[in-house]
């Protein structure tokens, strides 16, 4: 079973000015995605411009935090400090549309199923930073 004690996971990511709202949101229990100010399309946190209307004007907005499991793997080789193998690595389709890489917590790996409904939850890394995860909802 994936114990998913996220507080043992080391931060390899360093927030910068552009990404700060994502991590500040997580610290306050809010799941943030990017949204196009021109056409309203939602985007994953990595977006640099609107992939629909090509506007560069994206802003962070709170999303519902609801979604469903698009796919997952159980990775058997630990490479990130604090993530013990085997661990689940998942792609979540958010209700807003974007698909994001995350992990499923609060469930045994062998109970994970493609299509299952998910809700966002938040966990802290060793340095106190918050990161969104998903749990069956």
């Amino acid at each position: 079973m994936d114990k998913m004690n996220t507080s043992e996971v080391e931060a390899i990511i360093q927030p910068d000015e552009a990404s700060a709202p994502f991590f500040d949101g997580a610290a306050n229990g809010r799941y943030m995605l990017l949204r196009c100010k021109a056409c309203g399309e939602w985007h994953a946190p990595q977006a640099v411009m609107c992939m629909e209307c090509a506007s560069p004007d994206l802003e962070w907005q709170e999303a519902s935090g609801k979604g469903k499991l698009h796919s997952f793997v159980i990775v058997h080789r630990a490479q990130i400090p604090g993530i013990e193998a085997p661990y689940n690595l998942s792609v979540v389709e958010t209700d807003e549309g974007p698909r994001v890489v995350s992990r499923i917590v609060g469930i045994d790996n062998n109970q994970i199923e493609v299509g299952m409904a998910l809700n966002v939850t938040f966990g802290k890394l060793t340095n106190g930073m918050s990161l969104p995860y998903f749990t069956p909802g």
């Binding site: 996971v9 931060a11 390899i12 990511i13 360093q14 927030p15 910068d16 552009a18 990404s19 994502f22 939602w42 994953a44 946190p45 990595q46 992939m51 698009h70 796919s71 997952f72 793997v73 159980i74 990775v75 058997h76 080789r77 490479q79 990130i80 993530i83 085997p86 661990y87 690595l89 792609v91 389709e93 549309g97 974007p98 698909r99 890489v101 995350s102 992990r103 199923e113 493609v114 299509g115 990161l131």
Partner: protein
Amino acid sequence: MAKGSMGAIAGLGITRMSREWMGPAPVLAADAIRRAIEDAGLEKKDIDGLLINAGLSSGKFGANSLTVSTQNLLGLRDMGLTAEMVAQGSTTGQMVQYAMMAIEKGMCNAVVCVYADAPMQPGTSAGGSYGMGRVAGAANVTTMDMLDLQYGMTGANAMYGLAARRHMALYGTTQESFAEIAISNRQWATMNPHAIYRDPLSFDEYFASRWIAEPFRLYDCTMVNNGAVAVVVTSAERAKDLKQPPVHVLGMGQGHPGNPKKKGYENEVNSGAQQSGKTAFRMAGITKDDVDICELYDCYTYTTLVTLEDYGFCAKGEGGEFVKGGTLAPGGALPTNTGGGQLSAYYMWGMTPLSEAVIQARGQGGERQVKKNDIVLVSSQGGLLDHHATLIVSPHETVH
């Protein structure tokens, strides 16, 4: 549009393939190029084009960096075409395509296309050499470039595993089908003197092998190795006067679907082979029923399965059933990856399928030669099924 040869592959050079260090990538490239020129019955002075695909040796500094400077290492002069090309795993097919177009337009006459890489260095593992962990701490990486890695998205094994799982969830595909592909590849490899893994593989051994990223076991994933492969591309006319039987290119295509990674798209189960294959079949004036042999980019067992579906050999979702019962194996209805592919022979990106296609089209496959070799379908594929190039090759200048 007139159907017939658009150019030919006249020379093939394959170095020794090894998971041990045999020297830096430029030295391996030079060896493969020398062999390819000799194989064609040409001399170095006849070569006036060079296209390079450097694998992980691209963009590096130091002795293991493979760049356009390789021209000087070989002493090639007055070239009409020289470039390093980077389109992930689809590069090989693209190199041959651009070489033929440049020859047809009169820029050059004989182009060497080479893939060389030496990712296996003392102290590195295959996963380590290709894993995304190597980006951690790299300069010029933005915060959000690291987000997926923070969750443990460490490389291609997980990415392709996610795609395979999606196929399983949508269509009921099982690991038995993946096993069929791995075992069939190995059956072919036992007859290939170039292959690194030549011991037969059983279903029991497949299912006893360790998990890499479920649903993938060890035998679902390509090896990584050092080596180089080069081909000489020239016009159909020129190739007829050379040492080897010409391998004509009758059709070609590319497909780059683009992955928006959002609701409504199923890129994990639909590859660039759909678009690329349609273009290539139309150009060659053939259908999938005319194909005798498939040489497919098989970085994972699943890649073979989804590529067969996308070329239309079976309906979408039916790849799992299609491959069962030895369809792809020696003696099967659709001989596929007849040298063992990347899974069992050697991992030279798109040069793995192309090199075996040249051998089969020439009729030089020895013990593993497929009798009917009139049409060979060759794929190059990169990214997460994002970039695809197709070549349809034949010993014949025309097929109708």
